[in-house]
Amino acid sequence: MLELKALSKHFGGVRAVDGLDLHVRQGEVFGLIGPNGSGKSTVVNLVCGLFPATAGQVLLRGEDITGLASHVRVARGVTRTFQNIRLFGQLSVWQNLWVAQNSTEHRSEGILRRWLGGPGRAREEIDRILEFSDLSGKRDELAGNLAFGEQRRLELARAIVAKPVLLLLDEPAAGMNAEEIDQLDARIRKLKQDGLTVLLIEHHMELVMAVTDRIAVLNFGQKIAEGTPDEVQTNRLVQEAYLGVAEAA
């Protein structure tokens, strides 16, 4: 599904991502973990095209998408959420989804209906996703007035409404309480069931270990380990990266 080949991103002298090779398979939930500043968010930004790679390639279903603009990648099926929530606060909940809606039925409506028509057929699909996100009661509320947890759910909904094949979640559990994390866990599983491939970046280890099929660990922009959650947990390099090396040992 997603393949990164020797992907690098340098900011001045800082090698945020340094020759990363990664292969996310179709239909799996892939975790990307690592200490703060290890380059996880940069990987997401490179995959979704927010800024250009210094070197290397991003392949989606075998096709090179490295040079494509962000919105073109969305059309190809790569959507994301942000670590710091970025909603359209002055738009209503349902408008937030409307602008991102990208379904094939919607595209066939013709340019005038698509841009200048009312909600029309878009409505049913949006209502379905609002229900999935437990936001049905808030559809006409301004997004900026939602509670924190609701904003996180809306951002996930906005990423889903564009009908992605690959979903990039950048710390979706940050700031959530235990109950909300459980709901997020269930939602990710449901999306996986529906055939979506998910790249999950998260600090909340309980969630990562529970929900992912495989995990890669980054440190200083390089991959130091990869494997199933069990394999990664017992990896000595990973423990050192997180806990530091015991000098005397």
């Binding site: 979704c48 927010l50 603009a69 962000s70 919105h71 969305v74 059309a75 959507t79 994301r80 942000f82 970025r86 909603l87 359209f88 606060g89 002055q90 738009l91 408008q95 937030n96 409307w98 602008v99 991102a100 990208n102 698509r114 841009w115 200048l116 028509g117 009312g118 878009a122 301004l142 906005r158 564009a162």
Partner: protein, 309 residues
């Protein structure tokens, strides 16, 4: 009476100017180029009626298209820069247009007089309305038909997906592109539509003032253009209209008796209005309140409707 008719004409044309900036502001761009597009519309429409003998309606259509095409061409390079840099870039464009017309001399002999734009002296004798016997009232109605058309079109657009997309881009470009929106295309489209509307306003302006010159299209006009939608609020096209009435009728004409003190008060009142209503005279909360009021009035158990039965 003529005073009020004249005032209503000014309000109409300035509403078009304000709405042109409204389109661009929705996408979060502050453009000082609107006076430039307005000037292009004015000169193109006037030259077509005076020199080519066109009727005013096709002349206005052509003026809008030329101004819109210019806006589109300017939009691509200009919208690569943001914030203050965009303000400077569009300001430079507006001044370039003004200076172009300052030097633009294209006079044709018609009988004994020479007509057409004469550089710094301006373009006199734009006499389509008097030549065709239109009264001040006719002109006023003509202007407001266009204002109504543009306002209806923009009001419609505001409620469509296009309106939501423009606002999304205005709020957060990064989020917008991550939601699959082609941000450049949206911004250039908004600029083009804005240029089109400014060109229409300029074309009408040229014909009711009958005399245009470069000095009318300077920074002051560009500032007014963005002041209207900012003052009126970006939640509804009606905000811009109300702001134009507030500025032109109340601040400029209504306070004329104050003499030189007017200018001082003018700035002060705009500051006051923006402090009291930071999101504009008509903001999202106002619209929500109006909607609630309408719904309440429709409910059967409502005291007011019961009283009416």
């Amino acid at each position: 009476m003529d005073f009020y008719l004249g005032l209503a004409q000014i309000v109409g044309v300035h509403t078009l100017l304000g709405l042109s900036a409204y389109c661009v502001l929705l996408t979060g761009q502050v453009s000082l180029a609107q006076a430039g597009f307005f000037a292009i519309g004015a000169y193109v429409a006037a030259m077509l009626t005076v020199l080519a003998g066109w009727h005013i309606v096709p002349a206005l259509a052509a003026a809008s298209l030329v101004a819109g095409a210019t806006a589109c061409a300017v939009g691509f390079p200009a919208l690569r820069v943001r914030g203050l840099m965009l303000v400077v870039a569009t300001l430079a464009f507006g001044e370039a247009v003004r200076l172009f017309f300052f030097n633009f001399d294209y006079q044709v002999a018609k009988g004994e007089v020479k007509i057409g734009p004469a550089g710094g002296e301006g373009f006199r004798q734009i006499r389509f309305f008097p030549e065709n016997g239109w009264s001040t009232l006719d002109v006023l109605v003509f202007i407001w038909v266009f204002v109504a058309l543009v306002m209806t079109a923009l009001w419609w657009m505001d409620r469509s997906r296009a309106g939501a997309v423009l606002r999304a881009v205005g709020e957060d470009e990064v989020a917008a592109q991550s939601a699959g929106i082609n941000v450049t295309a949206v911004k250039v489209s908004a600029m083009t539509v804005g240029g089109f509307i400014a060109g229409l306003g300029g074309g009408i302006f040229a014909h009711y003032t009958a005399h245009i010159e470069h000095a009318q299209f300077g920074v002051a006009l560009a500032t007014f253009a963005i002041a209207y939608p900012i003052l009126g609020g970006l939640s509804s096209v009606f905000g811009t209209l109300i702001a134009v009435v507030f500025v032109q009728a109340f601040l400029i004409e209504g306070l004329r008796f104050l003499g030189d003190w007017r200018n001082l008060l003018f700035g002060g009142l705009i500051l006051f209005a923006m402090n009291v209503r930071p999101r504009g005279l008509i903001d999202a909360a106002t619209i929500a309140a109006v909607k609630r009021m309408r719904i309440r009035n429709r409910e059967p158990g409502n005291a007011r409707t019961q009283g009416a039965e």
